[in-house]
């Protein structure tokens, strides 16, 4: 019992970390985007303010049970992914390292891929129940795009798996520590494919038709306000952080301490953000076909590379 309590506390700590970092990133990105667009942009802590405001709202509307469950599903996904992904490298010996192990040994990459789709699906269903056609349109676009980027993403992962004969994230980190080479250098094609997939995963331009901020009222998220939007926002931030950590774990050898973690994730995060700021938007089918074009080819190269070497 005590053990479980400690575990729960540790998980909460992980969540809080992810929440803070993720929210901050969101704010920073908004700021950077503003600057690049030659506007002032909101302050970096704007997201916290938004979240606090949403959280404080006591009035709201809902459209039924699934509306509730959608948000809950999203949160489940974020949290469980966060628990599966090792936040810090197993080699690092900081005193708080063991806080962040959580469920690291209970799932592997394939598990992660699947659990990560749980949330979007849940949210999609929540959006579906609202009855807002725009929500559903956003959902179909989002799911279509997911089919697009999943292919290079999985190819990159498979390339790694066949080289190192494991699917466990922890093992990948150990391997990088032992060999001293980051996997992004060991199999550059895999890294490129994964990063290209990441562009779609984070839904920044040119792959932001899902949210489509201008034409539609924010796609799946429309009709959500107050606690629902707060839950979505926070779980989105946590999820973003989790994904970044996953990339770092897989390709950049993980982080030995929190500073390195923040640095690495932030740098990685800048790739889609900066690419997105300067890109126009793809239509869904264009986006999907784009993913099935070059990224997939690079993914194939990655697998070929893995098989050959």
């Amino acid at each position: 019992m005590e053990y479980i309590l400690i575990k729960v506390l540790e998980a909460m700590a992980t969540f809080v970390l992810a929440f803070i970092v993720g929210m901050t990133y969101g704010g920073v990105v908004r700021k950077i985007t503003g600057r690049v667009h030659n506007r002032l942009g909101p302050p970096w802590y704007q997201n916290f303010i938004d979240a606090f405001k949403l959280f404080s709202k006591t009035r709201g509307i809902h459209h039924g049970a699934m509306h509730f469950l959608g948000a809950a599903f999203l949160m489940v996904t974020s949290v469980v992914s966060l628990m599966i992904i090792p936040i810090l490298a197993p080699g690092g010996h900081a005193w708080y390292n063991s806080w962040f192990t959580n469920l690291n040994f209970n799932g592997d990459l394939i598990f992660l891929i699947y659990i990560m789709t749980f949330g979007p699906l849940g949210m999609a269903m929540g959006a579906g129940q609202t009855g807002n056609p725009n929500s559903s349109i956003g959902v179909t676009r989002g799911l279509s795009q997911m089919v697009g980027f999943e292919i290079p993403w999985v190819m990159a992962l498979v390339a790694l798996m066949i080289t190192y004969k494991t699917t466990s994230i922890v093992d990948f980190m150990n391997i990088q520590r032992e060999t001293g080479t980051w996997l992004m250098f060991a199999n550059p094609f895999a890294f490129i494919a994964a990063v290209l997939a990441m562009l779609g995963m984070f839904r920044y331009s040119p792959f932001d038709i899902v949210g489509a901020p201008t034409e539609l009222a924010s796609g799946p998220v429309s009709e959500n306000g107050g606690k629902f939007l707060f839950t979505m926002m926070s779980s989105g931030s946590v999820f973003t952080f989790a994904k970044l950590v996953l990339y770092v774990d897989l390709f950049m050898g993980g982080a030995n301490n929190l500073i390195m973690l923040v640095v690495k994730t932030f740098l990685l995060y800048m790739i889609p953000v900066l690419y997105g700021i300067v890109s126009p938007r793809y239509r869904t089918e264009q986006a999907v076909r784009w993913f099935w074009g070059w990224p997939t080819f690079i993914g194939l190269l990655a697998i070929l590379y893995a098989v050959m070497f």
């Binding site: 469950l69 949160m75 598990f111 699906l121 807002n132 997911m146 089918e285």
Partner: protein
Amino acid sequence: MLTLILLLFLGGAIVTWLGNKLSPVVGDLLFLATIIIPAGMFFTGVTVGEVTHLHALGLTLTWGLTPLSYLFSMIVVGLGILLAIYAVPFMKGKQKTGAFYFNFTLSVMSMLGILVSKDWVSFFIFWEIMTWSSYLMVVLNGKDVQRVGIKYFVFSAIGAYAMLMAMVIMNSQLGSFLLADTFNNFQHLTTGNQILIPILLLVAFGVKSAMMPLHVWAPDAYSNAPMAYTGLFSGALSKMGIYGMVLVMVTMINQLPEGTLIRDIIAWIGGFTAAAATLWAITQDDGKKLLAWSSVGQMGYIIVGVAIGTPLAMLAAMFLVVVHAMFKGSLFMVVGAIEKQTGTTNFTEINGLIRKMPWTFISALISVIALAGIPPLAGFVSKWMLYEALIQNNNYILVILLFFASTAGFLYCYKFLHGYFLGQEEPEWAHVKEAPVAMVIPMVLLALGNFVLGTFPQLIFKPIDAAMQFAGYDATGGRLWGESVLFTEWGDVVTLQPILYAVLAVFVFFALFLWFKGTKGTRYVSTKDISTSGELPKEWENLTFKVNFMQPFERAIEPFLKRQIDKYYTAFGNGMEALFEFTRRIHTGNGQTYAIYAILFLALLLLFRVNLFG
């Protein structure tokens, strides 16, 4: 005992049919009794290894259960009982109830028969009974009979005849119809036959398991049959193909030097089946069709697993066989319930049933999540093992294909749920009520089964392990799976229980959080009360988004959608019919011409006399 059970089914089928002529109620009762009594006898009275011999025409028919067939027969019987309970309210007030009961019972009987057959003759007999009884189900509603029904029967017949050919060749070469003999003495066949026979058998089983390019019958047939039957059709009947395929794979193909090649080919075919069927499923606007294509796709996964044939892959395939029967059975029941309550199954017509049919929705939700392979439900277990197996077996590209299929599968999963239950709640469907209890209970039970198996797969792994040991695999317990744990030989692990608890805990926490947070201030509003783009929609505005639901994705896969195998078959069929039409005109109708034919034939024979008779 086996004979008695099969006879009970057969006699029951006839009695039910007759009883239904008397009065529908008698028919219902007899039907339930016919299914449940022998099924109960099967569960209680039949032991693995018991053998019965029958004699016909100088051939010995041998019946008995093996651990492998026991696994499958549990699906058949279990699903049979649940669907039988479901079918009674489903068929109430419908036409041809008697025929339905008759064919349903016969289907169950024939499937059990296939599974207990230890020789090819009885295997084939039951196989054909299964074919025609299911065929009569497919055409039962009289819709598009000539196209759908004939297509199903032609493909079934091609498969069955391939099997027939294979079995008579084996009999003539090996002198035995016994499955065991033909498998054990496979090496004694000539090289040509060693290739020919497995291919013929694979065609036979491939047709039933809807393997590409022999799948074209499946979507139409599945969707055309009464929904109370389709669960059995897709859940159990198509598994007979898998059963046969397992037999062939583990025995014959293993003994072939070219075995690996054949395995790879079949696996690729399975992969393509999964991917293509998924894409087609996405484009469907009818829930039946969608599920039908989805079934084809799922069979593709199973075929991949069986074809790869490593212990892990086989384990995955077998697990998926069981689980697919559960979630697909449940989903077809859902569609049936919706059809029963609303009269249609088209997504573009139905909206927002979630609040009218909550239990149906819950079973649909759970089953769909299982179908999508998302943890912690049962579908995930098989998917995980399958991917691991493929990667470990160096099928890298194939695994990508399956990943793609599975990801694309989310689209139709969502489409299914959204199509029926979500979206605008139109007043048109305000009158719809929840389905009768007898229909809800079976589907909820099946859905819950997915939930249980997702975390405690060892419940099913145990019989699967027994079956696999029978099929010549080493014991996999503790090596590839444990109590709620999945392993691989690489050392990858998924522990299911903690994850389930984590998921449940987080889920409950946030659900409660969302519920209590400002409960008083949160009120329910109807789906009409929304804001689109910040504006309140007008009264006349169409808020229902159903038509061209997946248009963006369909546009993306447009080049694929243009190529339908069905079209090629149709072209082939038309060509054949034209040829037939030409051929039959040999009989010109002029008696004189016939006489000339006779003289022509005489002249020919006389001319070739030397060639013919020396």
